[in-house]
Amino acid sequence: MKKIINTPEKFITEMLEGIYAAHPDLVKFAGGDLHCLVSTKKIPGKVGIATGGGSGHLPLFLGYVGEGMLDGCSIGDVFQSPSAEQMLAVTKEIDSGAGVLYIYGNYGGDILNFDMAAEMADFEENIHVESVVAGEDVASGAPVKPGAKNTRRGVAGIFFVYKCAGAAAAKMLPLDEVKRVAEKVCENVRTMGVALTPCTVPRVGHPSFELAEDEMEIGMGIHGEPGIRRGKLMPADAIVDEMLNKIIEDLPYQNGDEVAILVNGLGATPLEEQYVMFRRIHQVLSEKGINIFHTYIGEYATSMEMAGASISLLKVDDELKELLRFPADTPFFKQFKY
C-alpha cells in the first residue's frame, strides 16, 4: 500500500502536528507531549471525559474531543496503546473537580495502561476516575453475561457511548450519572464489521493479512483480528443480511424497538457503497418492525486504508434520544440539535 508519509517513524508525530496546526481553536496538548490531546474549552464543574487508544483509526479517537463529546484523548502509535503516563497527563489537564470518566475500547494494552493511569490519578492526584470499557463487536466473543468479563472488542459503536456520555456531561450531570449513561449505551449497542482488503501498519510495511481478490471476511476486527467467516465476496444485500441478523439476534432488537444506526466505512470503501448498504438495512429493519430514530453514515472509526464497513445498532429510549439530539462540535463530528 502506498502512503503519503515522510517516514514511518515520524508518521504519528507529524500527523499530530498537523492536527494542532489545523485546529488551534479546538484542541491543544497537555504535559508538553503531543500524544496528550485536550480540548481548549474547560468547563468548571463539568465531569471530564477522556478516551485513548492506538492511532490509525481517525476520526477515532481524538477526533471526538470537543464540545458536547470528549475532553481529552491519549494517543498511541499505530494500533498501539498510549502509556499510563500519557493518560494521566490528559486526566490531570481535564479534571475540573467533578472527576473524570474514561471511555475506551476493550483491548489488552489499553486496559492495562488506563487502569494504571486511573490508579495513579486517584492516589497521587486525588482525581476520582471511573472507567467504562466498550466492547460491542458481536463477532468477537460470546454475548456478555451479567457480572462476567466482556471479551468482546470495542469498535465503531463507541461513538454512541461518546455521544451520549458527552451530552450527559455537557448537561452537567455528576460522574456516577455520566458513567451510568455510558454503561447503558454499552449494554444497548452492538456492532459487526466486514473487511474486503487489509491495511498496512507503516512501520511494518506489508499488509497485516491477506484476502484473495474475490474474498471478504465477515466479523473481522479493526486491527485485522480474525472474524467469524471468510468467504467469497457476496452482493451488498447478502452481506448486510448476514451482518444485521447476527446483530439483531444478539441483543436482541425486537419489533417495536427504536434504534440509532451507524454505518461506518473502514477507510477505502466509498460513501456510495455505505448508502447501498444502508438501503438494505432500512428494508430489513422495516420488515422487522424496528424503527429508525436517527442514522449516522460515514467514516467514524477506520483502519487506515482498509476496505470494508461496519454496522452498529443502538437501542434507544427517551433518555438516549435526548442525549443523541444534543449538539456537538468537534474537529470531526458536528451536529446541530435535531
Binding site: 494500533f79 499510563a84 512501520r203 493479512f209
Partner: protein, 218 residues
Amino acid sequence: METLSVNKLKEMILYVADQIIESKPLLTELDSAIGDGDHGIGMEKGFLKVKEKISAMNPSENVYDVFTATGRALLMSMGGASGVMFGHFFAAGAKNAEPKTFLNPEDFIALMQKSLNTIKETGKANIGDKTMVDALEPAVQAMKMQGGTSFIDLFRSAESAAKEGAEKTKAYQAKYGRAIFLMERAIGHQDPGATSVWIIFRSLREFVEKFTEGKQAG
C-alpha cells in the same frame, strides 16, 4: 554470599538499559516479522526513561526502590501491553517488599517469582502463548533450581533458560498481542518480548561478570 548495594544495582540497571537500547535493531526486526515493528522503539523509549529516572533518583537506602523506579519508568513511558509487562518485570516483585539496603540472590529470585506471577495474572499468557512469559518462566524456574548461591551463577542459569525459552517461541502460534492475527504464519519467528527478556538476563550476567572480574583485578 554476594550482595548488591543500592548504587551497584543502579549501575547494573543502567548497564541493562544500554544493552537493550543497543539491541533495538534486532528487536525491531523480530517485531516487524510478526508484530507491528515497534518493540525495539518501545524498549528504547522505555529504557531511555529508565536511565533518566535512575540517574536522577533520590538517594535511597532501599534496593527495592531501584526496581520500583525502573518498572515505573517503563510502565509510564512505553505504552502498549509490553510497557505494562516490562514494568511489572521490575516493579511488581518489589511491591510491598521489606526494605533492604543490600540485595542478595535469594531476594532476587523471590522478586522475579513475584513479578512473573503478576505478569501472568495481568496478561493471562502461559507458556506456549508466544510471549515474554516463554522466556521469563523458565528463567525463574532455573534460578530456583540453581538457588541463591551467587549472582553470577544465578544470572548464567537464568540467561541460558531464557535464551532457550525465547528460541522455543519460534515453534508457537501467538495467543496475545499483535501476532495473534498472523495465526499459523507466526510460526518460525521468535517472539520479540521473549527476546528482550533474554537480553535482560544476558546483560545482568555480563554486568556481574565484569564487576567480578573488576573486583578480582582491583
